[in-house]
């Protein structure tokens, strides 16, 4: 579940979960909120909207902070989902932080991506089409009792007309008023429909493979990066190079090359001033 803040994602999740539960399915919810880039802390407040589920043993809610991840999910969201899956939850719902355009990680993690918008999002939809609009498997216009809902429905449909058909799936667009529970049953039905489609065309297995594949790629990136910074001395080289680059003595690209060199010359003796000026020249 992704979409702008205030679109009512948490309330929708709560209502959907109630329906899944009625159907006898167990549910896990992973709610992601942003980590403050200044303090490293976070306020995880999505639970406020899900209080009716707190005491249901068939529902497990875990809040996560992004901790510096920028794709709308938290680091380890994928692993947490795997754990919840192994734990036997039938449905796992991931709610992204909802800051807008850059939340594309969710599409790599989830099998069905639902974009939640509100009539007020209408003006921003053009800006969103490049990212958010392309990853949606289903579109929801929540708070649809408000002015502008009809127009937004039309706009989304038009946007989808322009979007290349993706293996025979045309995303459904539907209205909900989550606070009153209206339209939520249709949403749940469509999510089920998308899942049936994924199964029928054997896409589920491929998605699974893609998911695992990008998990591995992520790990490679993380490990290599960690390895790169392993040697304590490298940070001080970085500091020095950054200072020089900031002073106009070299470009960031040149600084990067120097950093690589420094790392490769094992031992990483700090280079002399003379060498530096040579390099700049």
């Amino acid at each position: 579940m992704t979409g702008p803040p205030g679109a009512g994602k948490s309330t929708l999740v709560e209502k959907m979960t109630a329906l899944f539960r009625k159907d006898g399915q167990t549910v896990a919810i992973v709610a992601v909120d942003p980590t403050s880039p200044y303090t490293g802390g976070a306020i995880l407040g999505d639970r406020i909207r899900m209080s009716s589920l707190f005491c249901d043993p068939g529902v497990f809610i875990r809040s996560m902070a992004t901790r510096g991840s920028s794709g709308g999910l938290a680091f380890r969201t994928r692993e947490v989902c795997d754990l919840l899956d192994a734990f036997g939850k039938d449905v796992i719902i991931v709610e992204t932080i909802g800051v807008g355009q850059a939340e594309l990680d969710v599409a790599d993690t989830a099998q069905t991506t639902v974009i939640v918008l509100v009539p007020e999002s209408g003006d921003g939809i053009q800006a969103m089409k490049a990212g958010l609009m392309e990853i949606g498997d289903l579109f929801v216009v929540n708070k649809s009792d408000r002015d502008g809902a009809d127009r937004l429905m039309v706009e989304i449909q038009m946007m989808l007309d322009l979007r290349p058909q993706c293996e025979g799936w045309r995303p459904g667009v539907m209205r909900t008023t989550a606070s009153a529970g209206e339209g939520v049953d249709e949403l749940v039905r469509q999510i089920q429909g998308h899942r049936d489609y994924l199964k029928k065309y054997g896409i589920l297995g491929r998605l699974r493979k893609d998911n695992v594949r990008s998990a591995i790629v992520d790990l490679v990136r993380q490990r290599l990066e960690e390895k790169f910074w392993e040697n304590a001395g490298i940070r001080s080289v970085l500091d020095r190079l950054a200072e020089e680059a900031a002073g106009g003595k070299m470009s960031p690209y040149q600084a990067f090359e120097r950093l690589l060199e420094a790392r490769e010359q094992n031992g990483m003796k700090p280079s002399t001033n003379k060498e530096q000026s040579d390099h700049v020249r």
Binding site: G6, G45, D46, I48, R49, S51, A180
Partner: protein
Amino acid sequence: MSDKIRSEKNQWRKKIADSKMRDVSFDTVSGESLESLYTPDDLGGFDYLKDLGFPGQFPFTRGVYESMYRGRLWTMRMFSGFGSAEDTNKRYKYLLRHGQTGLSVAFDFPTLYGRDSDDPVSRGEVGKCGVAISSLDDMERLFDGIPLDKVSTSMTINGPAAILWAFYIVTAEKQGVPPKKLSGTIQNDVLKEYIAQKSWLVPPEPSLRITVDTMAYGSRYVPRWNTISISGYHIREAGSTAAQELAFTLADGFAYVERGIQAGLDVDDFAPRLSFFFNSHIDFFEEIAKYRAARRIWAREMKNRYGARNPKSWLMRFHTQTAGCTLTAQQPENNIVRVAWQALAAVLGGTQSLHTNSMDETLALPSEKAALIALRTQQLIAHESGVTATIDPLGGSYFVEALTSRLEEKAYEYFEKIEKLGGITRAIEVGFPQREIAEAAFQYQKAIDEKRRIVVGVNDYLIEGEDLEIPILKIDPRVETDQCKRLERLRKERDSGKVKKALDDLRNACGSRENLMIPILTATREYATLGEIAGVLKEVFGEYREPPIYW
């Protein structure tokens, strides 16, 4: 003339520019920056007749009545309630005996939420923060021996206000007092519940419908009753600034007026029964300016925007309570002094009634002695200070007039923001006032933690190992068990067939446009409980939940 003042002022400024100032903040407690001196040129295009006028005349800046405190002192109304109906009844009689002139009922949390004392969620809360009232039976015992045609009663009740008011009206009936002889106030201001106090019942829309029903019923059958007390008190206690208190309270007030008009009522039929309730915080002049600005804005908007023609619709009458949140648990006796000047600010600001907090309220509910000192504080101001002889004695002060106008401007800035969000109910839904208040509260705490603002006994002038010598009022846990037993008996003894029918009738009325006061009164007479009546409303209208706040 004014050019001369300005040039002399500039010269004076130059002279003091180099003088040493203390290294502290001179901002008001709300963060408004202040000049060290105000002169006539700070008044801008000030027009005496237009901006101030005379007491009892438009725009009422100087006060709502012609003679103000020479004619009649404010009502000394101490908010109290704790334990069982009998406990509180005893305290009321004590206060009346000592010269209090009006009653003010504090209900416990279960009652505020429309829950009976024997509801599982009420556990541990019965009678703790106020008196437990679950049915007409409790209300009858609360006012036993107190003639309801002689006292005026204010009830701090919001979500379930219509129900508790019905309990009161029927209690009076049983005393032989007809509704038209009753005077008092139900707070009945649900909008500020969503904003600040958070004791709501159903969502805003149906809640406002019930509010309008009480307004309509009151103007017809209980004409001396204030059916809403539009409250800034809780907004301020939740941490708002003075300007936010002013702006959000008035915005709520406008919303009630608009609802009344939309429901087909004549504004002049109900507006004279609207009253207000403000906080008196620690910053003396800022508070006085706030009250004056509030009267002026209300009068102007009622006359110009809502087309009220009855002068009684223009005037803002208000109750004031000193600010609980400014009291300290450290060296609590100091609170007596804080309360005294807060009370003085309310009087200089022209309040119609006043509650003074007791020094021990940061520790527990007030003990009898502490409550008496608080009441005495009002009597001292009324009879010894001499401030009641002259109306609006600070009117014309360059400083107070400038500050009054500044608060007014700030309020209008907020009105504009609220308007842009689509009105106050929509603003509440997206958490706008809530966020503004939380931010102000955080900044205030930060200023104290960083010692930019000194609170005596808290971050300066501390006493190490302070020993508390104040007796604390304790609520006997028996109150809860007794209350549950009494309810059990009541449910057995009443005619359950009639109760069921009355509740069914109420349920049906919820779906129609019928005034809900009528079926609520009927259910009350059959001794349906608060929880049962509120339960029907929640069943039909749903329960409200707070929106998340984004920091």
